[in-house]
């Protein structure tokens, strides 16, 4: 059996050949394998970026690499929408199905197996694949750690998405990642939007309820000049899945990127939505909502690098916690000295609903350039007694009022996200969490009542 620690050069080369990958890709995998051999698994005591998730305790890398799956996946939430979407399904470490509506094919949109695309669309894939995971990181943080390098070397199920220049899509392209068997899953996604293209990519992560798996995922997206990109990532895993995700976007001149994550499932989710703003005037909005319950550990690390002038970024993550759960918001904004005219804001808000939960927030700023506007904020609190009092005084039952307050807390994130199905799907997830919760255990902070009374 091959695990993430017993990979061999021969096995990697063999798998690459079996997938009929071109030699440049095989060489790249082997080069990554060599880099990997020089790296150790993260040490949460030593590596600042792993401090927030105890790697040794929560991540088991001695798992068999999962490489084959069946078609059977739950329906995408987009199935309820009255639109025809492109769907790629990764099940148990294998790309089992790709469906592209003919209307998209006619526009030149490609959704394909990444191994095939490396051959058929080498002009697009070769310069892009791995370009974001192996690029130098300025600011805090070193090069890609072993959890990323192992995916560079050994990814087993890849999806390539290409939206040609000036093509605008109103329907999303969906990538489903589903786990039914235990072991290590290594999915990979590469998306390239041509200049002035507009598209949204939905990533849906699901598993069977009792599947005990490690999913180590790398997503690279390149938004070329003036492209408009939405990445939406749903983490709806069962309670025994550990998910390590690097979802990195490179934003070129005047492109507009929005990256929304909805994290409700999984045992451990360490999620890195990153944007490199490499072109002047680029914009990114990393958004996140999360709801952690008993035993869950969510480590959310939005990282924005301002590497070009006049780019803007606006990070907003909002989370609720109950039971013995732990969330970490570890944001970082790096502003390079050339990034004059940067406008950046970074915010995290947590709502601790019951006793026993812990919410950490570390909204970092690293600034080399003075000609900018930067701010950040974070707030941790609980349900406000004044709000609750107001609603109940209007005859709304307490339980319904609590539900309204929590839902309202999250709605800010969706304020101008007009993506088909997304807000409804996200709020449904959150409603389910609230419905399953024991509302009588919700803690209410009466400080505002006192303040009000003092006035």
């Amino acid at each position: 059996m091959t695990t993430l620690t017993t990979l061999t050069e021969e096995a990697l080369a063999g798998a690459s050949d079996a997938a009929a990958e071109p030699s440049w890709l095989r060489d790249r995998r082997l080069a990554a394998y060599k880099r990997m051999l020089d790296q150790a698994w993260p040490d949460s005591r030593a590596d600042e970026f792993w401090r927030s998730t105890p790697f040794a305790q929560r991540i088991d890398v001695e798992r068999e690499l999962v490489t084959s799956g069946a078609v059977d996946t739950p329906a995408s939430f987009t199935a309820d929408l009255d639109v025809e979407v492109a769907v790629a399904r990764i099940v148990d470490g294998a790309l089992v199905e790709v469906t592209v509506p003919s209307s998209l094919v006619e526009l030149g949109v490609v959704v394909a197996d990444l191994s095939d695309a490396a051959r058929d669309h080498a002009d697009l894939v070769e310069p892009a694949l791995g370009s974001l995971t192996s690029s130098d990181r300025e600011g805090t943080g070193g090069d890609a750690d072993r959890t990323v390098t192992v995916n560079d070397a050994a990814w087993t199920a890849g999806v390539f998405i290409s939206v040609p220049p000036e093509v605008e899509l109103d329907v999303p392209i969906v990538v489903q990642v589903h786990a039914t068997v235990g072991g290590a899953h290594l999915p990979r996604v590469l998306a390239v939007l041509g200049h002035h293209a507009r598209a949204s990519v939905y990533l849906e992560h699901t598993s069977d309820a009792d599947t005990d798996a490690l999913v180590d995922e790398v997503v690279e997206v390149i938004a070329n000049d003036a492209a408009q990109l939405d990445v939406v990532s749903f983490q709806r895993w069962g309670n025994h899945v550990d998910h390590l995700a690097l979802q990195k976007v490179q934003a070129h001149r005047d492109s507009r990127v929005r990256h929304l994550s909805v994290t409700v499932g999984g045992r451990t989710v360490r999620f890195l939505p990153e944007t490199d703003l490499v072109g002047p005037g680029a914009e990114t909005r990393p958004l996140g909502v999360y709801f952690a319950d008993e035993g869950q550990w969510f480590d959310l690390q939005p990282y924005v690098r301002h590497l070009a002038p006049r780019a803007t970024s606006d990070v907003l993550f909002k989370g609720a916690l109950q039971g013995h759960s732990r969330t970490v918001f570890r944001g970082n904004i790096f502003v390079h000295k050339d990034a004059v005219g940067t406008d950046t804001d970074e915010n995290n808000k947590s709502l601790i609903l019951t006793e026993g939960a812990r919410a950490d927030a570390t909204p970092f700023l690293e600034i080399e350039c003075s000609d900018i506007v930067a701010g950040h904020g974070s707030a941790t609190g609980q349900i406000d007694a004044l709000q609750l009092y107001y609603l109940t005084s209007r005859g709304i039952p307490r339980e319904e009022a609590l539900r309204l307050i929590v839902t309202g807390f999250f709605r800010e994130v969706f304020a101008d996200v007009a993506l088909p199905g997304v807000e409804a799907a996200a709020l449904t997830e959150i409603d389910e969490r609230i419905a399953a919760a024991d509302l009588s255990r919700f803690q209410v902070n009466d400080a505002s009542l006192k303040d009000h009374h003092d006035e």
Binding site: L353, E355, F364, L365, S370, D371, H376, T380, G381, N445
Partner: protein
């Protein structure tokens, strides 16, 4: 270990080098004392034998020697921090860990050696003393406190204000009960180092209910090339007492890097209040790696006012462990980083009891190749219900080559905590400069005014003479800010 550095033969070449360095230092910075004439040093570098020798030299009780040796083991075992500032250039083996300037303590200014007196005159201490601006001075020259005076009325009130070595000798019971309880020997690498080789510092006990109405002050100086200074301060404020302790540092410039690694422990008992003010102005070759922590018991208040102007690298995060219900912690911090400096400063607040509150205000200014980093922790432990914390970090960048970072950590285990964090980054804007220049204020002065306004919320909390000194130091650093 009784050899003295001055007995070693010195080659002519080295003597010349030293003379040149001496001349340069004097020429450039006006004054600097001769660096021979030390009564005792433990030599360069550090070994367990060296640690034991320091303890023996001081005639300490066995428990303190054992504690030092335990700390030394912890120091050797603990890794260098892999976060914060770059410490890779510290040459630990070149440092003098213990140096004694003279064998006895002086009781009046006139008894001090002329060179030392001259230095203190330049620092303005006797004048301050004459004007009764200060309540008592423990003037620290190198590692031994030479001059020490406590005003008589304080003594009458039962206030103990000694150098730490004397504190150990004269009040061993109180000392042993509290020493290293707030910052254990293995707390971090540099606290361990300090515990192993500490010397000097202040030992203060304020009896129950006593309110010291004038600030207690001490001046510290580094004067020997490559000499670490490891002073250790222990303040115990008994219930209902109040004291404001002011620590200031200046150091002449030398050619190679020096290490300063102090430990300050403060115990603020029920209903007491302690304010600790530091304006750090080490020369720009000093690594200033300091551990400062206070424990605030029920309804106690601890305030750190922390200014970092000098040093090559500072890593300092004054902390308050809020262990009693209703305890309050505050840190006001101002940092200025000029060319080649990295000020990695901040604060830590650990809420371990209900109804505790903390407030952190950090103001940092960076210029040239300087870098300021705010690094702070707010931790709300499970059970610390109704805790409140507010953190505000403002950074001002004076040009496009400097850098500023904000690394706030918030770790919240309690559902009803109220935590707020805000940060802003700004520069001196052309609009502001234009407005002031149109009123006839030149650009340098206008910039200085903006900077003074920026730090005013902290400057106004300082004793008047310190506020003046802070403004003067920043004005000096600002010279030619607009190029």
């Amino acid at each position: 270990m009784s050899q003295t550095e001055i007995d070693l033969p010195v080659s002519d070449a080295r003597r010349n080098q030293q003379a040149v360095a001496q001349d340069l230092a004097e020429y450039k910075f006006g004054w600097s004392d001769r660096d021979d004439g030390y009564a005792f040093t433990s030599g360069r570098g550090l070994t367990a034998e060296g640690v034991a020798a320091i303890s023996e030299r001081k005639g300490e009780p066995t428990w303190m020697r054992d504690l030092r040796l335990r700390a030394f083991q912890a120091y050797e075992r603990r890794p260098m921090p892999n976060w914060g500032a770059d410490l890779s250039d510290i040459a630990f083996d070149d440092i003098f860990y213990y140096v004694e300037a003279s064998e006895k303590q002086a009781n009046t200014w006139e008894e001090l050696p002329p060179e030392i007196l001259q230095t203190y005159e330049k620092l303005g201490i006797p004048q301050a003393e004459r004007e009764r601006l200060i309540a008592g001075v423990a003037a620290q020259y190198e590692s031994t406190v030479l001059y020490h005076k406590v005003r008589e009325d304080l003594e009458e009130q039962g206030v103990i204000f000694l150098d730490t070595d004397a504190g150990l000798q004269e009040h061993e019971d109180i000392f042993r009960e509290h020493f290293a309880t707030v910052i254990p020997p293995n707390d971090n690498k540099f606290a361990a180092l300090n515990t192993a080789v500490w010397s000097g510092g202040s030992f203060i006990v304020i009896p129950e209910g006593v309110k010291v109405d004038i600030p207690l002050q001490a001046y510290f100086r580094i004067n020997k090339q490559n000499m670490g200074q490891f002073e250790r301060t222990l303040i115990i404020a008994e219930p209902g007492s109040y004291v404001h302790y002011v620590e200031g540092c200046t150091a002449p410039i030398y050619s190679s890097d020096s290490l300063h690694s102090a430990v300050v422990e403060i115990i603020v008992k029920e209903g007491a209040r302690v304010r600790y003010t530091t304006i750090q102005n080490w020369s720009n070759n000093v690594y200033n790696l300091v551990t400062k922590r206070a424990v605030a018991e029920k309804n106690a208040t601890m305030e750190w006012i922390d200014g970092n102007i000098g040093s090559k690298v500072t890593m300092k995060y004054p902390a308050v462990w809020l262990t009693g219900e209703g305890a309050k912690g505050e840190v006001l911090s101002v940092a200025y980083a000029n060319d080649g400096q990295h000020q990695d400063a901040g604060a830590k607040m650990v809420h371990a009891a209900p109804y505790t509150t903390s407030n952190i205000l950090s103001k940092s200014i960076s210029k040239g190749t300087g870098r300021t980093s705010y690094r702070g922790l707010v931790q709300i432990n499970d059970g610390a219900h109704h805790a409140r914390s507010a953190v505000k970090c403002d950074a001002l960048m004076l040009d496009d080559t400097s850098r500023t970072d904000t690394y706030p950590y918030m770790e919240i285990e309690q559902e009803d905590a109220t935590i707020e964090h805000e940060a802003t980054v700004s520069k001196v804007s052309e609009d502001q400069l234009f407005y002031m220049q149109s009123r006839g204020i030149d650009e340098d002065e206008a910039t200085a005014m903006i900077v003074r306004g920026f730090i005013e919320p902290i400057a106004r909390e300082l004793p008047m003479e310190y506020s003046v000194e802070l403004n003067r130091l920043i004005a000096l650093e600002m010279e030619g800010a607009i190029g």
